[in-house]
Point group: C2
Chain length 437, copies 2
């Protein structure tokens, strides 16, 4: 993509009203624009990141056998009245009335709707286990939306739902999602720690939040110093095997949010404990028959007897992750994207666009990278070099290639790693060789 | 995908309330489920088709230089009050109030919002031409939603918006989209005819509907008998060249919807005219400065003088297309998917799942097709053969491979083309050879 034609309205100055880093950088890098309080439009650069995150989430859901569907944003209030949540949910539920005076709502989550789908079609234990998920916009009418996409009102969530015949199988489904979540975050370059959590308005007996560490995070978290040394994620986990020992080993390592941490009874010494801040990027729940009881979703078991299905639900904040990743990965100059979610792989800066040699080399690099499937953002704008380099640092692509007349005289360009800041002068062939292998 | 694990709740009988073919087949093939009047959940098979259509639309938008963004579903009413449409739009506009009592609405279209994005960031003719699009759920509170996804309330639309300095350039942008639309529909296996149309609530002087022919279509349409002989779509159109002669040649061929067709003044003889039915699958508009005037979106021109930008908007009904394609392509047994939008490429039927040889051959075919990137739906269910074959015809994948013990004795399987119904007996190698080339 050529920056001269690309709609990235970067800002030189810090926008007021943006209190936290990710919000500030997302506005400055032209990734989003506020539409109204807590509601954002995603501009081209922001949407690219959002789509990459969404795709990683999707692949890891598919990998554990969950099937993708898509439920609508607007739901009839009837099912929510049946489950009792229409009254319970409070003012965060966006209620509305259609032209015929029917009560509707903008879904903040979909337990009722998925249970309705289940009960319509599935009647036998032979269809189980079943996990369905969708990636859809949700609305929660936060009283004080803030922190940009981190606590917005309209937000993109992946929510999965599992259906099982009994508790034992339901825990197997829960454990699969537990591992899928760890893999999902790891692929995004994030260090996520599962922590026991309260279930809130979803309900149920067991739930875990997935927290990523970020100094600017919203909540205080506590965890065992050697957590990440003990809990390395094996790439070859047999997802259909017994996952309980693995899940237990994660959970046996101390980690707790402020809500659950009790300094009096913490088993760790002060030296073994790290107190820092974190951001919730996922939450999984096992709630048994809460919704299948209320909505009468049952299947015939092995013995022909009807059982209300055991359910769990599993959320990932897809749009929130864009902000969370920035909170976890930035410096004073801007964003530092992990490779897997970077909007482009390489930023190519033409220092002097009216220099024929610079443009020729840039076009050649652009063409060659395109050929091998690398995504390049090519800064061919007529701007000062300093401003171009500042924009590149702000946008935060993993690699920068800076092509200037001085270097070209000696046959070299500059390759810079955004994360480490280290740069080296390389010939064109050497630069290509770095990426083609 | 193995059908035994896949959530496709097919129905043997015709659902009542489904008046038209596409709605009936989508319900029977387990593609969708009604959530409430005019609002549907997309089940796995339906979602696959929706995503394929979405992706074709996206690629053809990108091909003409439009840039993808994503605007939210919920908009503040303020901009609509500024444009005057808050009062004009009528009861199809889903109005709501947030917890702080602010007037909001679920966007039925996004002219105001995109104009706000434009006016915030773009100040100079040098940023033009610019086309932005998004693919987002919309809501129109139809008084009588019907025909399944064809006239739903919550629907997926691609809407693009072009911004130009003057009329002349705006027409160039319009023409690009005109050609992009023809390409889009052609890739889906559809014969689409652009027809002059009324602008309705979008406004403006010029608009064209894209109509596909289907005997079960909603509107009567009239067109010149040799329309498709004259208007073949060249694959190598230079999208940056002068498209006016090409657009003119399309528009010089007679074609009109019922609204615009005047039998008294039709230039064609009865013999030259075909009267049939059609479905609107796209609508493009040039409306000049209607919204840029109202919302004061201007850029400085070459001479430094401020001009309100000239705009157009361009809609494709993405979810509607799923139904429309079925209306245009089915037989009495079920859907006949065009290859480009088929949910899977091949349906593989194991006639006898407890026959070791049948299963072995099926697994081998499945594996080999998977290897070369073909998508296979493998019917490994314990069901009667007749029922399996009926389901395959209903689901409508382009190719069926039927593996039974009788054929395998002679070393052959049956390859059936869903569209023509023709079938042939082939060895495994021959079948693979048909697809690997």
């Amino acid at each position: 993509m050529r920056l001269s034609n690309y709609f990235i309205p970067t800002l030189k100055d810090n926008p007021k009203d943006a209190q936290i880093t990710s919000h500030r950088f997302m506005l400055r890098a032209g990734m989003i624009q506020q539409a109204s309080a807590g509601i954002y439009s995603w501009l081209p650069l922001g949407l690219r990141v959002l789509k990459k995150i969404e795709q990683i989430v999707r692949e890891e859901q598919n990998a554990v056998g969950a099937q993708e569907i898509l439920m609508p944003t607007i739901q009839s209030a009837d099912l929510w009245k049946e489950s009792g949540r229409y009254d319970d949910y409070g003012k965060e539920l966006l209620r509305l009335t259609d032209r015929h005076g029917r009560d509707m709502l903008y879904g903040p989550t979909n337990e009722e709707q998925i249970t309705e789908i289940f009960r319509t079609h599935l009647k036998s234990y032979r269809s189980l286990p079943l996990s369905l998920y969708h990636i859809q916009w949700k609305f929660r009418d936060e009283v004080r939306p803030r922190f940009g996409v981190m606590r917005g009102r309209e937000f993109l969530m992946k929510d999965a739902y599992s259906f099982d015949l009994n508790y034992e199988n339901a825990i197997k489904s829960y454990n699969k999602m537990f591992i899928a979540y760890l893999k999902t975050y790891a692929r995004m370059g994030l260090k996520a720690i599962p922590m026991a959590a309260d279930s809130g308005p979803i309900g149920g007996d067991m739930s875990h939040e997935f927290i990523i560490l970020a100094e600017t995070g919203e909540s205080e978290v506590y965890y065992q110093k050697n957590w990440f040394d003990i809990n390395t994620l094996d790439k070859d986990i047999d997802i259909n095997g017994d996952l309980q020992p693995l899940v237990d080993s994660y959970l046996s390592c101390y980690a707790a949010t402020d809500e659950k941490h009790d300094p009096e009874n913490c088993p760790l010494t002060e030296e073994e404990l790290i107190a820092t801040r974190g951001i919730e990027v996922g939450h999984i729940f096992y709630f048994g028959a809460k919704y299948s009881d209320a909505l009468n979703a049952s299947v015939a078991g092995y013995d022909g007897v009807e059982n209300h299905v055991h359910m769990g639900s599993y959320g990932v904040g897809v749009s929130r992750l864009v902000g969370a990743i920035i909170e976890a990965s930035h410096d004073e100059k801007g964003i530092v994207w992990p490779e897997a979610v970077a909007p482009f792989d390489i930023g190519l800066v033409n220092v002097k666009i009216d220099n024929a040699k610079c443009s020729e080399i840039c076009h050649e690099l652009y063409r060659r990278f395109h050929q091998i499937g690398l995504e390049v953002l090519y800064d061919d704008r007529d701007e000062r070099t300093g401003s171009k380099l500042a924009d590149m640092d702000l946008i935060g692509l993993p690699w920068q290639i800076i092509v200037g007349p001085r270097g070209l005289k000696s046959g070299v360009v500059e390759l810079k790693n955004r994360k480490t800041g280290s740069s080296e002068e390389l010939t064109i062939d050497e630069v290509l060789g770095k990426f083609i292998n």
